[in-house]
Amino acid sequence: MAAALFLVFAYLVSRGAGTREHRPLFVLEAFAALLTWLVAVQPTFVKELSSSEPGQVIALVDTSRSMQVARGSTPRVEIAARAVEGLPDEVTVFSFGDEVAAVPDDEPLSATAERSDLGRALEEVALTEDLGAVVVISDGALTDLPIDPRVRVHAFAVDPDGELMDDSVVEVAADAMVFQRQVAKARVTVRSLGRGAQVIPVTLSREGEVVSETVVTLNEEGVGSVNLEFVERQLGRAVYHVSIPTPDGDAVPKNNSRAFLVDVVRDRLRVLLVAGHPTWDVRFLRELIKKDGSIDLISFFILRTNADLSMANPDELALIPFPTDELFREHLGSFDVIVFQDFDFGPYQMEGYLPRIRDYVRRGGSFAMIGGERSFSVGGYAETPIAEVLPVTLPPTTAGTRSLDLSRFSPVMQDEVARHPIVGLAAAPDESAALFRGLPELIGSNRFRGVKAGASVLLSRPRGGAPILVVGESGQGRVLAFASDGSWRWGVTAGGQSGDASVHERFWDRVLRWLARDPRLEPARLSTDRASYGASAIMRVRGVLRDASYVPRDGSVALSIVALDAAEVEGEAEAESAQVVRVISGEIEAELTAPEVAGAYRVVAREVGNEGAVLAEEAFVVETSGRELADPVARPDVLRELAERSGGSFHDANNPPALSQLDTQRVRHDGVQRIAPMAHPLTIVATILLLGAVFWLRRRRGLR
């Protein structure tokens, strides 16, 4: 640009210079001006300096379960181990699978990871200083590929041919939750490598018993799917296995069978509501339960007693006999929750059914009694089998009306139960307490003699503290006693007064779900990051642990793994393998190692001390196959493409090159070089001299 300016300037000067003999002078003047300008602006040239040198080398070894597959008679992981041994000591070796971890020198490589996440592994090691190259030793059967390697990759393929003869159950797609006594389906995908189209038998079994058999037709690519149906009759968790035959020469027999776990639940919560007579409390409780599509309600109301004169023939009445035998003998066990609402059993020849109801509760059913003039003592329940399971003790039936308190009151909630889901209806405990204080008063209540040990008083009268709402457990079941028949006023009456009629619905929704042990309302629960693991895989366990009052626990708990069908956890054996975990604000987080033997297990959280009471547990499955082995075919093409894309090279891990043959150069930046030619003192002196010469020549020629 400077040269261009100079030429333009010189041309202009020469045009205006007049006589021909002055033109050299003016050219000289133009040059002097240009030089002066360059000295003034001081142009600088910048040059980056770099050099290359050998960088650090890191090796990443695939330890996913597909590396268990043998090439010939040698498992891929052993080929990888030999390749690692051939690397010089200066190479740092990491394994990658579920995570990236250093490989200890003194431990053999084991391929147990459920994933082979190379993308994440490369991202992690790319942060290493002075990194020159990464050697990836793998079969190429990767879960996740790097999008941009950002580092030179030399791939050592443990199975560069990628040929395999293997039949496998690739996938079993079944709902994690199935409904009891309803047909459930599992969609099974089978693949045969190296044998093409064929028909393969598929078997579904449960605890060793064949449940269903069918065949799957594979297409030309050796892939096919089929649906298997099963009906689960028992509630709880069940483990199923899908299997196909193992042909001769099958590379991975383990992947010919896969397990899956289902949680068997009722399709809907089943509630039996028995009311002694129609009241507003009955009407509004039934109405809200009927509205809830997740609840199957069977209700029976006593509409007429022998004291009533209906003035009609039976055929003119829409009344039916009280089906006591059907409800309390035939179908008793099918209910999740039984509610007696202001119902007296005496007039209906029900004495014989009360022991059945008691036993139903102790076996795990739930029972609630709602107050009124026909409930608790006035309903004749004192000293009956029902009284044995209630969370309160009752005055004798002879107390009559003395077991009723007819005064109005606003129930109060104690601070220690403010987190209980039934009464903790607001976000904060003090807001829940205020919510109950602001509700319309209840009218009258039943009196209790006392509260049983272990039961919790959730609501009580403000004066004297008479319990109004008490919850507890009896055997395996949950029980609730509510001494009022006026909770409907938390709907209609509250709505009319404040515009918010929702408390009634929220309260009873919580009551029913707590009684039915809705997992969301349990004080303690565990969860695992997956339902199914490979042998010795890492399990991530999380838990919420609160006491019976829903106050978050502190301290420590012991986590251990036992077989799912173990009736009782063996204390000593378990204690040896238990991992003590710190509980922080009622929450835990831990890593456990899955058992080596395939099967169904549960992870159990126990109190440390206090005889190790079980706080929570969760079931899971250990598979000998799993996702990694479902698709074990080696993919050397994937490794080759990765190496080429990153500027690296591709090799057979059985015959690895020496490290010196690999490009491990890294580019080192040596900084920048700056050159400013017009800053040199000689340049400045020359400019001054040139300006002086121009001045002298102009004077000499008589120019100004």
Partner: protein, 236 residues
Amino acid sequence: MSLVGASAYALGEDTRVEIVGVDLGADEPRETARRRLAWEVRKRTSIETRLAPRRARLDDQTIFETPFLYLAGDEAFEPRSEAEVRGLRRFIEFGGFLLIDDASPHEDGFDLSVRRLLRRAFPTDPLAPVPPDHTVFHSFYLLRRPAGRVRGPEHLFGITRGGRLAVAYSRHDLGGALARDNLGTYRFEVTPDGERQREVAARLGVNIVMYALCLDYKDDQVHAPFIMRRRPGRVR
């Protein structure tokens, strides 16, 4: 169902079912009708009713203390205030039940006023005939059609909200069939079928109260087979 005596206890008079009269500023045309209906319900069913029911204006908060209102009249009434209309709307929205009884079904005055009130309170929910197979006709007694002091139309009218009959409107002078004087004598003749029709009216009143407390309970699967077996030729 067994017929054995129930306990006579109660958690107080305030917990009983009360048929609250709507106070429109004038005397009720059949002043003993609500008490008689409460008595019939208590005598014939297991429902505990309050035998001295109160009256309340629609803008009175006490209407939310018991969710059954009875609005009777025999002549046109002035348009209600906005607060009363709002009170009625909220009462129904929060679950209340309104029984309207036209004591002068051969005249239009009360009917027009009622329809005007309901249009203001429930502009999107028009009055419609209640079909004869509605639960209200088999909530306790098996009934074929409504009746009162007069035979009246073949059906009740009603407003359905959220799947339930929230407003029932009778143009049969139901209260006229039930009202008695201080000596216990019925105050009005029932036409055209006399005492048989009066009994049907009493049964309709019981069914309406029973429906308000049980809603579609009688439509539950457990009851359907029994009711279907009894229906042909048996209904009064």
